[in-house]
Symmetry: C2
DNA sequence: CTCGTACGTCTAGCAATGCTAGGCTCGGGT
DNA sequence: ACCCGAGCCTAGCATTGCTAGACGTACGAG
């Protein structure tokens, strides 16, 4: 039995290596540079090995996305708990979200720009994705307003910061005004 | 001289054919299905002909994006002029924008998701893009608020509706609540 | 009207991509 | 000690964007 356990351990280690390498490659040179050949070469295995861990490139993207979602949830909760007062909490959430997107552009792309084969907004949505949304929801309810559904408010908040993140990152909005835009958005959304 | 003119006319016609075909193919089966071979086959020319009109696929995407921007500007202005009162105008703009994105997903992708090699938010930004932004700006100034820069407010508005459009379209937000989200967003942004 | 030229188009091919089939080798269990 | 199978690699397929070079045709000069 010990042999099998060892093999499984090695397999898990290698899987982590694949994901870490894919992520590193993506952050350094973009997802286009993450080819199966390059990835295989970096982990010092042949390409078919990748396919014994993942169905294909899409699934690798999806796996990185799930990692990122877990990290985003942590970052959001940390930011929220460090702020005092509902208004400050909303601002902190927005900044933490945009900060995450800016610091981990490739991971952000894997989550929200690319197709990682993940189900969103459905019963079979993976837990990390639900949890990242929950991290927003549990802090936004108090500023949604009396007659506004907290879930709906969270969706709108998310969409707005997502729009800021992507348009800024792709150079479609001038980067120098990013902070002022965030401030304005928070002012409008968080009606105390 | 007449010969040369005729040739230029034919060239322009063929260029329009290429763009219309690319757009049609993209709307029907997504941009991934727009390969140079398929596109060439549809227009009944060989692939190299495409490269005598455009530097490459990216430039085709960019050209479709500019077409789309012009149409979007028209749609936005039409919607704005049909509404009376500042508040209704904002709502009409948001609905027109989201409606455009939903009806022309491939064109929307060409404009805001894909890389068409276009410059945004810069001095050399193509006119249609500037004009589409202007169509928003000229109608949003009156609801930005006294101490808020209209340009900045327009950017935030744009980012928010863009977020709604993309997240909804990629199945990351439940489609059935789209209308309620729009309403909520407009309520918050348009403080009279 | 004829002929050379130049433009426009096509055939063929390159490197790179995601993915897969088939065989080889080395380790483990009997 | 030997056989068998898991696990890995080499090699290859179809498809992608893009390009080089040859070929034909239609134009313009004589």
């Amino acid at each position: 039995m010990s042999v099998q356990e060892r093999k499984e351990r090695e397999r898990a280690t290698r899987q982590r290596l694949i994901l870490a390498t894919a992520r590193e490659l993506a952050e350094q040179h973009g997802w286009d540079a993450v080819t199966t050949r390059r990835l295989a070469e970096r982990i010092e295995y042949s390409q078919p090995v990748l396919y014994s861990h993942f169905r294909g490139k899409r699934e690798i993207v999806g796996a990185v996305a799930l990692e990122g979602a877990a990290e985003l949830a942590i970052a959001l909760r940390a930011a929220a708990s460090a702020a005092d007062g509902p208004r400050a909490r909303v601002a902190a959430l927005a900044r933490a979200y945009l900060d995450f997107a800016q610091r981990n552009p490739a991971v952000y792309d894997a989550m929200f720009q690319l197709d990682g084969g993940l189900a969103f907004a459905q019963p079979d949505t993976p837990e990390p994705l639900k949890d990242a949304f929950a991290a927003l929801l549990e802090n936004l309810g108090e500023v949604a307003g009396a007659d506004v559904d907290p879930g709906l408010f969270t969706e709108v908040f998310w969409a707005a910061v997502h729009g800021l993140a992507t348009l800024t990152r792709t150079g479609r909005l001038p980067p120098e005004d990013a902070e002022r835009r965030t401030e304005l958005l928070v002012n409008r959304l968080a009606t105390l």
